[in-house]
């Protein structure tokens, strides 16, 4: 475990009385890949901008290497940013975009402004071009590059300054799916090679799980859960996280005893404990953790109402006592057939009731458009001060 590099303590951000961040506490370790994940408007970009110095929190502290940096302007932080839509300088070519930060005179140890010699600038720019696979593009205008190329220029422009931390604000949002997958690997490779901290903002949970060392799930200005991708997926803290990360059936249950939870008046073995006796809880069951058995062997019995072929598996919707579950299976059960299910104790995750209880986890309205609809609500501009054109 490497040492802590950045710490946010009780950070609050409010615009005109509208609280965008509500007492955020976050620790970022050196050289880790940390992702801020959440739907639009959750406060993840604001958190990033506070770390970058573009916004000063209304209250709370930002510490960098143990030093409070609330009031330190962006140009004095050893942090660089890759912006949404890249923000490349249109009047400069690729080379000059990357060299931009190097050409600004920096204060040395004695406080004198020093300029880097041209040879040094040239060497470092060419090195970066090599790293991001853009050799030979030096003289191109940035407007003549493809999205992926622009993306890589933006990364090179930030990394050439050798920051301790690189902030990335939805950097892959504008790329098509194939390119996005390539760039995910590329980013991971660069982070490993440069050995610096990446703080990455995205609304795409798959991206977050695939790339991160640590995932911070945010919603409504609050951190919902911090953990490794496995923790987040396997042990969601509340219904929001369970729903946002992957697919989940979230059912009302009652904790009858440690290791015993009751749903639909049937008791199930589980691994969770530490609840009060008879405490109402949310129970998360991942679609792939459900085994389909014949009707008479099942712990629960229901009717298949819809089947969707997904290539690797079928997504089937099953009606149990009026509550619709999503189950992923490799065996086809035709619509209208009666089935039984079995769930292993480690497939059942019990969570305390929260403000999100009852909001998610019901698949009665599930359709193929479901994911597209949730994607369409993504609005890259919606996160700033709410003030954009």
């Amino acid at each position: 475990m490497s040492k802590e590099l950045i710490r946010l303590t009780d950070c609050v951000m409010a615009f005109d009385d509208e609280v965008v961040l509500d007492k955020i506490n976050l620790s970022i370790r050196d050289k880790e890949f940390l992702t801020l994940l959440g739907p639009s408007g959750c406060g993840k970009t604001t958190t990033l901008r506070i770390i970058g110095g573009f916004q000063t929190p209304t209250s709370g502290d930002v510490l960098f290497d143990g030093v409070r940096i609330n009031a330190v302007p962006p140009h004095k932080r050893t942090i660089n940013t890759v912006f949404q839509k890249y923000a490349l300088f249109p009047h400069l070519n690729v080379y000059e975009n990357i060299a931009f930060g190097l050409r600004i005179p920096k204060a040395d140890a004695k406080g004198n402004k020093v300029k880097l010699p041209e040879e040094e600038i040239d060497r470092r720019v060419m090195e970066m071009l090599e790293i991001v696979n853009l050799k030979g593009f030096e003289k191109r205008r940035t407007t003549q590059l493809s999205g992926g190329q622009q993306q890589r220029v933006a990364i090179a422009r930030a990394l050439v300054n050798r920051p301790k931390v690189l902030l990335l604000d939805e950097p892959l949002g504008a790329l098509d799916l194939k390119l996005r997958k390539d760039m995910q690997n590329e980013l991971k490779r660069i982070q490993k090679a440069m050995e610096i901290t990446f703080v990455y903002v995205t609304h795409d949970q798959e991206e977050a799980l695939a790339m991160s060392d640590t995932v911070v799930v945010m919603d409504a200005g609050r951190i919902q859960q911090i953990g490794s991708p496995e923790d987040i997926y396997n042990e969601p803290k509340n219904a929001f996280v369970a729903d946002f990360i992957g697919e989940s059936n979230i059912i009302d249950g009652v904790m009858r005893a440690d290791g015993v939870v009751e749903i639909f008046n049937r008791r199930f073995q589980c691994l969770d404990g530490g609840f009060d006796k008879d405490e109402p809880v949310d129970v998360v069951i991942r679609p792939e953790d459900v085994d389909i058995v014949s009707e008479d062997q099942g712990q629960l019995r229901g009717t298949v109402t819809s089947v969707t072929f997904k290539g690797m598996q079928y997504d089937i919707i099953v009606d149990f006592y009026g509550f619709k579950w999503l189950i992923q299976t490799t065996d086809l059960s035709p619509v209208g057939s009666r089935i039984g299910i079995k769930i292993d104790p480690d497939g059942i995750h019990v969570m305390k009731k929260s403000e999100y209880s009852g909001l998610f986890g019901d698949y009665s309205s599930y359709s193929e458009e479901y994911e597209e609809i949730s994607d369409a609500s993504y609005d890259p501009e919606g996160e700033d001060s709410g003030d954009e054109e």
Binding site: P74, N80, A87, I104, E388, E389
Partner: protein, 670 residues
Amino acid sequence: MKRQNRVGSRLVIGLMFLFLYAPILLLIIFSFNAGDSSAVWKGFSLQWYGKLFQNRLIMESVYTTLLVSLLATAIATVAGTFAAIGLYSLGRKRREALLTVNNIPMMNADIVTGVSLCLFFVAFFQGWGTFARWFNSVQSAVELPDRLVLGFTTLLLAHIAFDIPYVILNVAPKLRQMDRNLMDAAQDLGCTWMQAFWKVMLPEIKPGIVSGALIAFTMSIDDFIISYFTAGSASSTLAMAIYGMTKKRVTPEVNAVSTILFLSVLLLLVLSNIKEVRAEARERLGAARKPSALDRARMKLAEPRFKWLRRGTAAVLACAFIASVSFLSYATSSRPVVNVCSWGEYIDEDLITQFEEATGIRVNYQTAESNEALYSLLKSGGADYDVVVPSDYMIGRLIAEDMLEPLDYSQIPNFSLIDDRFKNLSYDPDNRYTVPYTWGTLGIIYNTAMVDGEITSWSALYDDKYAGNVLLINNSRDAIGEALLYLGYSVNTTDEAQIREAYELVADANRRGVFQGRVMDEVFQKMEGGNAAIATYYAGDYLSMVDNQAEGVDLAFVIPEEGSNWFVDAMCMLKDAPHQEEAHKWINFIASTEANLANMDYIWYASPNREALEKYPAYYEELYGEELDPEVYEIMAAPPETLERCEAYLNLPAATLNLYNALWTQLGTS
């Protein structure tokens, strides 16, 4: 059918462009006219361009115009750009609201802007005066000026004020187009905000700044109304100088200066368009295009090792600009000065130079366009002239309203040269306030080729024989005065019945279509070109018309048997004039025989100086090597027996003036 339509639409477009550009073309052509008429072509010549650079009034106003426009543009561009940037850091609602507020001054009528700025400045000066007097009374270390007046500073402030919205309007869209993250990105890469502004924002919004500055500059150059109300007495822009000339006539030098102005603006526009087209082409072709020699030179210059060269050039330019500005302020502040307000084309400008060289006093020579305009300017309190040259009736009014300072005639020895006929006149019976400048008569000018025989009576003005060929003078006092004379009444009558009778005479002729129109300055073109048969105007102007009459036109001048109006324009000093000593010197200088001879020769109005009046024929002969036609001399300086028939205007009581105004308005609508 379709083809016909196309021909039709081309015709319409052609006509439209003809309508737009024909006047400008005409102006350019006539700037090369050898004669000084704006209607009759007398051959090609560059003389007006030559004269233009010797015309002190125009050159000074061009200088003022350029200085004001450049300074106002520079300041407004910087202020407007930062204001626009400030607007963009605000929330959307506030920004939209403020942008709307920004647009209002542009929509606002110039006259409202001008008047309100004038009021604002005058109110501020009054408040300042009170404060300064109090401040000076409580301490003696610093002496604050307590008498501020409209001048170059207020003119500049007004121009900055109306230029800023245009800059904001042009910069705002560029800011809207700009990716907001660009500034963040630059700061993220180590720039301070200011560095980021220079390195990133400025290149992005430069086209908007440039077009904003261009528009502000043309608006400044173009402006007349706002300048008119805020410039006060000390400075006038080109537009104001041209307007000031309209009391007499617009000289062809104005055509020349307008041509130069038009061509420079055109050049500016063409240059900026070429730049834009090239930038677009570069964008399209990208790196594929080989850089031109110019681009290569520019790229070379942009290299760091040439930094000293770029900075040096910028420094030299800045120094030159500051030097010229400080020269102006030096020229205006350190030397004694006298502020004179007269009429356009009403002085031989060599006299100004002679006076300045002889005395070291700088003459700030401004012009007004009519007695009434001068009066309202003085009343508004915005002007601080020392010497004005109003006409007789207006002098009476100024004396009655205690707006003039009595003169110290011991400082004006040349007053003794003024002929006794022009002393102690009705407007200044004890001659305490005035020294006459010129005098002249109003008469009938007619084209002998267009009328039968000689005209001797005002009746010709109302004669159906000349229907459609008579020009009525567009001035109630003169037009009704002529009718009063024809009817045998006094031009100064206050008898309402007589005035109404005279008005009816004019109105009846108007209804019968005798008059071609009501004119002031157009009278020159009309009469010189033979487009009208009869007009009434001043004797001196008749002489300049004769000089320019076209082929087949033969103009004659007559003072009708019923008598006419004769007028005196006299120099007087305004109450509390700040430069009284200099004013006396100026008045004495202009009253001298030499100055009167020069002026008489230049403006062709008669001199009140006894010696000058006697010597003029000899002076003329010496100057031009030919004898002065006695008939011309008689028209210029009417002999005593003719003058006997004439009557000067007196200041009429308010009730009578109102009657004149009411009747004159009625004529316009009948």
